[in-house]
């Protein structure tokens, strides 16, 4: 099983790659060479990183739920 195995894997690989590369784009809410204040005077990019992390973390949770309903993920049992 890998990122190219089937359409389910390819779809999730594309989602995570999009999230991975988008954080590298120097949007002012990710990377800023001037001070842009936001909540409590914090630089805007701190808020941008936090929101992006939360979205990615939710994507991991959804991926986990969907993967665990698939047969190939049961191969070695589901005891944790």
């Amino acid at each position: 099983m890998d990122v190219l195995s089937n359409s389910f894997e390819r779809k999730w690989f594309a989602i995570f790659m999009f999230l991975y590369f988008v954080i590298m784009v120097p949007f002012p809410f990710f990377y800023s060479t001037r001070y842009v204040p936001s909540i409590a005077g914090l630089p805007l990019f701190i808020i941008g990183w936090t929101i992006h992390s939360v979205i990615t973390f939710i994507a991991i949770l959804v991926f986990y739920r969907q993967a665990m309903s698939r047969e190939e993920y049961m191969e070695f049992g589901t005891e944790s």
Binding site: F16, F45, I46, A67, F76, E79
Partner: protein, 494 residues
């Protein structure tokens, strides 16, 4: 200007009480693990039966070291909010990227063919003893300095809190880790990681709360930083370190290039099943987010109320925050959390380095007839020998903690090329893997030590790895292919 002597208040009584109790707990876990470690597979990968809590916490505590708790907040103190670039923007990918690209395949191969080390995988995939030896030798060369770097931090802490010479901290920490790895193997290492991981998270959370309170709240801190120097609040930060190329480098370094780190790679062999892997990702990612973000942010907050630290003194910013904000017993306990970060990294390094010599070189090359019992006995001898080498490296202290770690991490990161191509391209060959890794390593060392401008502002690992990939692909077209039988074993398993 503040001096470190004026800011630090030695408190040996409380510190020794807490540290001794903590070390006894670690030794007890080592003793408990020893009773359950009687086979080679148990010693190196916990029999492939690690559960979610152990696997998840062990992954993040191995990834995060003394540098995360001392070096990174110090950098943030110097640079400002841009310093959080070191780990915060890419942190959430630290486990999911390696798991997606190689994790599931490694769990399957580990269960099916009982691989214990990175070299086991590479030697089998490329049908080569040469690549096994090359990987094992390079791994040991880079992991020993990484171990030594952790002990340096222990020396600094002990000197700060008790006034004792640095070598005492370096040697004591090294010996304690040798003890619990000697008997408990990876089980001892991973179980102690759970205790250490919880302590690391607690240290980060408390340090952050104290730093916000001492700075007068977020708004007051931001205002103060703006008055001091607006560059504290934007990229590339004070000193101009975190420009865009370095921003991208940091995101890629601690996620994608984790694939080449033997200590993290082998964690997948320990996992019981895919459910454990996912739960470990969720738990490990949360642990990393909490500990790295909060401890690094604390370094930024400290600019507002501990002004004036400079040079090597900036490494003490977290101990100073803790000493200023909580009682001696609590601050000693939380400092134990920083020691824990170092110990939890050394233990995995120690087990994996031992695997490199014993499993990859001795059992597979020098003495193929050696029984598992003989190898297990010899493994314990080498845990002591390699551990002592790590201690000697720590005592020699050739560079700062962060620099040593970055260098060792980069040297191992080159291996991502043969690992990835080996998993995703049937055409990758052993000659291409060996030649390209040697070229990549030479290029990486040259760019790191002498020709930094060749890297164009990125971390030297990134251009060196790209060159490695190009060489490997090109050479593979002109060299003999791997046998169909092996390819079927590896690609049939996908």
């Amino acid at each position: 200007m503040n001096t470190i002597e004026a800011l630090i208040k030695p408190m040996p009584g409380a510190f020794y009480t807490v540290i001794v109790a903590y070390f006894i707990l670690m030794a007890a876990i080592g003793y408990y693990s020893a009773k359950r470690t009687d086979t080679l597979r148990e010693f190196f990968v916990m029999g492939g039966k690690a559960g979610a809590v152990v696997a998840g916490i062990a992954y993040f505590t191995t990834q995060y070291s003394m540098s995360t708790f001392m070096g990174c907040p110090a950098t943030c103190y110097k640079v400002g909010f841009a310093g959080l670039t070191i780990s915060v923007p890419g942190l959430v990918f630290s486990m999911i990227i390696p798991a997606l690209l190689i994790g599931r395949k490694l769990i399957k191969l580990g269960h099916k063919y009982h691989f214990l080390t990175v070299a086991d995988y590479l030697a089998d995939r490329y049908e080569s003893t040469g690549i096994r030896i090359l990987q094992a030798i390079l791994m040991i060369l880079f992991l020993i300095p990484m171990m030594g770097a952790q002990t340096i931090g222990a020396g600094i802490i002990l000197r700060t809190f008790t006034g004792a010479p640095e070598w005492v901290g370096i040697v004591t920490m090294g010996l304690i880790v040798i003890f619990y790895c000697l008997f408990g193997g990876i089980r001892g290492a991973m179980l102690t990681d759970v205790v250490q991981g919880l302590l690391m998270v607690a240290t980060a959370v408390v340090t952050f709360i104290i730093s916000v309170r001492m700075g007068g709240g977020f708004e007051a801190i931001s205002r103060k930083l703006f008055e001091m120097n607006p560059e504290y609040l934007c990229h590339p930060g004070v000193g101009g370190i975190y420009g865009w190329p370095n921003y991208v480098s940091m995101i890629v370094l601690w996620s994608f290039f984790s694939i080449g780190q033997p200590t993290l790679f082998t964690k997948f062999f320990t996992m019981k099943n895919y459910k454990v892997m996912f739960k470990a990702i969720i738990l490990g990612t949360l642990g990393m987010w909490l500990s790295a973000t909060l401890i690094e942010w604390s370094g930024v907050n400290a600019i507002a109320f501990i002004p004036g630290l400079a040079g090597k003194d900036i490494d003490f910013v977290v101990p100073i925050i803790l000493q200023s904000g909580v009682s001696p017993i609590i601050s000693s306990l939380l400092i134990a959390g920083i020691m824990a970060a170092g110990m939890s990294t050394i233990d995995s390094l120690l087990i994996v380095s031992t695997g490199g010599i014993i499993r990859d070189i001795y059992q597979n090359v020098i003495n193929k007839g050696a029984t598992d019992a003989q190898v297990l006995k010899l493994s314990r001898v080498f845990v002591v020998l390699i551990g002592l080498l790590g201690i000697f490296f720590g005592l020699s202290r050739p560079a700062t903690i962060f620099k040593v770690i970055l260098f060792a991490f980069g040297g191992l990161g080159i291996w991502v090329a043969p690992i990835l191509l080996g998993m995703y391209w049937k055409g990758a060959t052993k000659h291409a893997a060996i030649i390209s890794v040697i070229i990549g390593e030479i290029l990486f060392v040259l760019m790191t030590l002498k020709y930094r401008s060749w890297a164009l502002g990125f971390d030297p690992l990134i251009p060196a790895w790209i060159v490695t990939m190009i060489f490997m692909i090109v050479i593979s077209f002109f060299t003999p292919k791997t046998s169909q039988e092996t390819l079927k074993r590896h690609f049939g398993a996908s």
